[in-house]
């Protein structure tokens, strides 16, 4: 059920960055508001009731109807946040993977490198402790990642896309992402041993035409 249309959507594709930014723009102001409110209340109470003689301290110590109402209000806030979260999560986890991808990339994580295979073109690029070949993708189109690991749990993370997914041995995890044009660092985000810090890659999102040229030339170079 699509009740919210993403602002700045990229040709109707689910964009993890946009989903994150939208939720962020609601969660964080609420959090800041709650924090400021509590700080103000505490400071006010402390300033107003300081140095009253103890005999004048109030004896009342409960108001269950008020607390009950407050609990109901809190439950409503939780419900609102959950509605937003479920909507976004459905988009990112389910709807995105139902899109027809323009390219499929197999991500094989191992200690301590990433192997990105382009099955349609027949070549693989690697990044990590072995060196840094870029992960080139077409911008503005759905890119499907099939993520697995050859040894321990790693995590495929591109901070600019606000998205990560674990690479777990014995499974293939699917994520469908959309990139804007640019160069984006990526890093393993699940501790995987000695050189976890070096499991770095760089995603380069270029125009679909440039991507096709690049991929075909890599493919012929890789062909026997």
């Amino acid at each position: 059920m699509q009740v919210w249309s993403p602002v700045g959507a990229i040709q109707g594709l689910i964009d993890t960055r946009t989903e994150y930014d939208h939720l962020f723009s609601i969660y964080v102001p609420i959090a800041i508001g709650v924090f400021v409110l509590i700080v103000v209340l505490v400071l006010a109470a402390v300033l107003i009731y300081r140095r009253r003689p103890p005999e004048r301290a109030a004896r009342w110590h409960e108001h269950n109807p008020l607390e009950g109402t407050y609990a109901v209000l809190l439950a409503c806030v939780a419900g609102f946040l959950l509605y937003l979260t479920f909507t976004a999560e459905h988009k990112v986890d389910t709807v995105a993977n139902q899109e027809h991808p323009s390219v499929v990339i197999r991500v094989s994580a191992s200690k301590w490198e990433w192997a990105f295979s382009y099955p349609a073109y027949g070549f693989t690029v690697r990044s990590g402790v072995v060196g840094r070949q870029p992960l080139v993708v077409p911008a503005g189109e759905a890119v499907r990642f099939e993520i697995t690991s050859l040894d321990v749990i790693h995590s495929f993370w591109i901070p600019a896309l606000r998205y990560k997914h674990d690479a777990i041995p014995g499974s293939t995890q699917i994520a469908t992402l959309v990139f804007r044009r640019g160069v984006f660092p990526g890093q393993c985000a699940e501790f995987c041993g000695l050189r976890h810090a070096d499991m770095i890659f760089t995603a380069q999102a270029v125009s679909p035409a440039a991507f096709a040229t690049w991929a075909r030339s890599r493919g012929t170079a890789a062909a026997p």
Binding site: L23, A31, F35, I38, V39, L41, V42, A45, V46, Y49, R50, R52, P53, P54, E55, R56, A57, A58, R59, H61, E62, H63, E67, Y70, A71, L74, A75, V77, A78, L82, L84, T85, A88, E89, V92, V152, I153, W157, P159, A160, R162, Y163, K164, H165, D166, I168, P169, G170, Q173, P185, Q187, A189, E190, F191, C192, L194, R195, H196, A197, I200
Partner: protein, 535 residues
């Protein structure tokens, strides 16, 4: 038995609690040293102050030491010491069992730290020690084995001690002390110990399975095995963080109520909410697994976000206690207020990461590191210090210096926020956690440097505390039985309490603040003769 042997074999709950507490404090300092070494490495990009392997040992042992050997056992120590006093009991239930548990825990801590001397090094797969990374193929060596064994022993010891506290609350309340007249701290201790009893067995199970897995058993294999490990581990791993929260919340609540000269507001709602909060904490664990693709994210998002309801009740009660009170800003009060305000940042960031889509960015990054340090350090440890300044006179008979205490608070507030607030930004900008080095990125070097300086400031704050303890015990200012006009029964006995806790008969127990009741009745009696004309 007297002397050293008597002290070490004593089944007096005050002795057990004090020994457990002092040992935990020692581990706090050890874990802090690990943190300072880590922060030195991270002060600048691409720095190699320690080797990568050493760094991985350091963050593993920092987390494990702080969680298994400081914050959790300290919470249990406070419960063991204070609960019998607060409920008017002369002793703990099953004190021998509790003493055995403490010694098991003590051995666990020592065994875990033995790993530093092993050839491959100490535990180094993170405090959560995910399989298959932590199995025999990927992390061989006796150091990691000793880590697993250490955790098993520490967990078993804490489990046993917690069960004794629950039994004590069940069986040894003084005449008149019905359940709904138990003090706020006792209730928070009770739900914490219930969580230990309910969740820690799973830790023992998963660590035993991990040990077998490391030695030829093919237990956590494949995708299902990897998820199973996390399922079992986090089933323990989430409740434990609430065990590391509730007793310190209780300590802060007691400090606030006493220093506001007003009983804690909303007692019934509070008890109901912490019971619900504690139970809910055992239903949210897979929010640590959102990015695996192996769990039902929406269900756990639902239970995790629901946590804001009981949490909100607790803040409401805190404010309700302050309003209308007669507030004295002693060190314990200031630490308690700092606990509530700083924990709030941790709690709000927790609601943030309870949302899977937000967690897909935050998980495994410094956002999470910031979140849990705000809850556990900026939160719980400040609550711990509130409890220390509040109850130190009762335990030792001497008050801690107020000026040094306020200096400690100031230094720690500055250091804590310097260290952990920038982490939110670093994580969102792309810095993962558990990295021994980081590349040069605009802003990362500066923020990390600020954090490292902040860690140094925290260390100065802790040093101030140690100086305060030393000075206060050296040049004692006698506390008397009740230096703060306390509300609960521990203040109705000497400081420190005698072996059987209460020598004089207990005051009448008609609410959760019996001493305040007495004082208010006296105030009323003192007022009445002026209002009633002489007959």
């Amino acid at each position: 038995m007297t002397g050293w042997l008597g002290a070490v074999t004593s089944t007096d709950h005050k002795r057990i609690g004090l020994t457990l507490g002092v040992c935990s404090l020692f581990y706090f300092l050890l874990g802090g040293v690990f943190a300072l070494l880590m922060r030195t490495q991270l002060a600048q990009s691409n720095m190699q102050f320690v080797s990568d392997n050493s760094y991985n040992e350091l963050f593993t042992m920092h987390g494990s030491t702080m969680i298994y050997l400081f914050v959790t056992p300290m919470a249990i120590a406070m419960a063991i010491y204070l609960v019998p006093l607060q409920i008017g009991a002369t002793r703990l239930s099953a004190p021998r069992l509790c003493l055995a548990g403490m010694w098991t825990w003590l051995c666990g801590g020592l065994v875990m730290q033995q790993g530093w001397f092993a050839s491959g090094g100490a535990g180094r797969t993170g405090w959560s020690s995910y399989a298959p990374l932590s199995n025999g193929t990927n992390t061989p060596g006796v150091g990691q084995d000793l880590w697993v064994v250490g955790v098993i022993l520490a967990a078993a010891g804490m489990l046993v001690m917690a069960a004794c506290v629950v039994a004590t609350v069940a069986r040894r309340r003084a005449p008149g002390m019905s359940l709904l007249r138990m003090p706020v701290f006792t209730w928070t201790a009770l739900v914490s110990m219930l969580m230990v009893v309910g969740a820690f067995p799973m830790l023992v199970v998963v660590m035993v399975l991990l040990y077998i897995d490391r030695h030829g058993g093919h237990i956590f294999t494949g995708f299902e095995g990897a998820i199973d490990y996390q399922d079992l581990f986090w089933f323990f791993g989430h409740p434990v963080v609430y065990v590391m929260f509730f007793p310190y919340l209780g300590a802060a609540a007691e400090a606030i109520a006493v220093n506001a000269h007003k009983r804690w507001f909303g007692y019934i709602a509070f008890v109901a909410s912490i019971m619900a909060f504690a139970a809910l904490s055992m239903a949210v664990w897979s929010h640590h697994m959102y990015v695996t693709g192996g769990v039902t994210n929406q269900y756990f998002a639902f239970t995790s976000t629901a946590l804001l309801v009981p949490a909100g009740i607790e803040y409401f009660d805190m404010i309700g206690t302050l309003i209308g009170g007669s507030i004295v800003l002693r060190t314990s009060m200031l630490f308690a207020l700092a606990f509530f305000l700083q924990f709030l940042i941790g709690g709000l960031s927790g609601i943030f990461v309870a949302s899977p889509v937000l967690d897909y960015q935050a998980y495994g990054t410094y956002i999470i590191v910031a979140h849990f340090h705000y809850t556990l350090f900026a939160g719980s440890i400040f609550g711990f210090f509130a409890g220390v300044y509040h109850w130190f006179p009762k335990i030792t008979g001497a008050v801690l210096r107020e000026r040094l205490g306020k200096l400690q608070l100031l230094v720690m507030v500055v250091g804590t926020n310097m260290t952990f607030f920038p982490m939110f930004f670093l994580g969102n900008d792309g810095m993962p956690r558990r990295v021994s080095r980081y590349p040069t990125h605009p802003g990362w070097g500066t923020l990390n440097e600020i954090e490292t300086i902040g860690a140094g400031v925290i260390a100065l704050g802790v040093l101030t505390f140690l100086i305060n303890v030393f000075v206060s015990l050296r040049r004692r200012v006698p506390a008397g039985d009740d230096p703060w006009l306390g509300h609960t029964l521990e203040w109705a006995t000497t400081s420190p309490p005698p072996p059987l806790n209460f020598e004089a008969p207990l005051p009448p127990i008609r609410s959760y603040a019996p001493l305040l009741d007495l004082r208010e009745a006296e105030m009323d009696r003192a007022r009445r003769p002026a209002e009633v004309p002489a007959s």
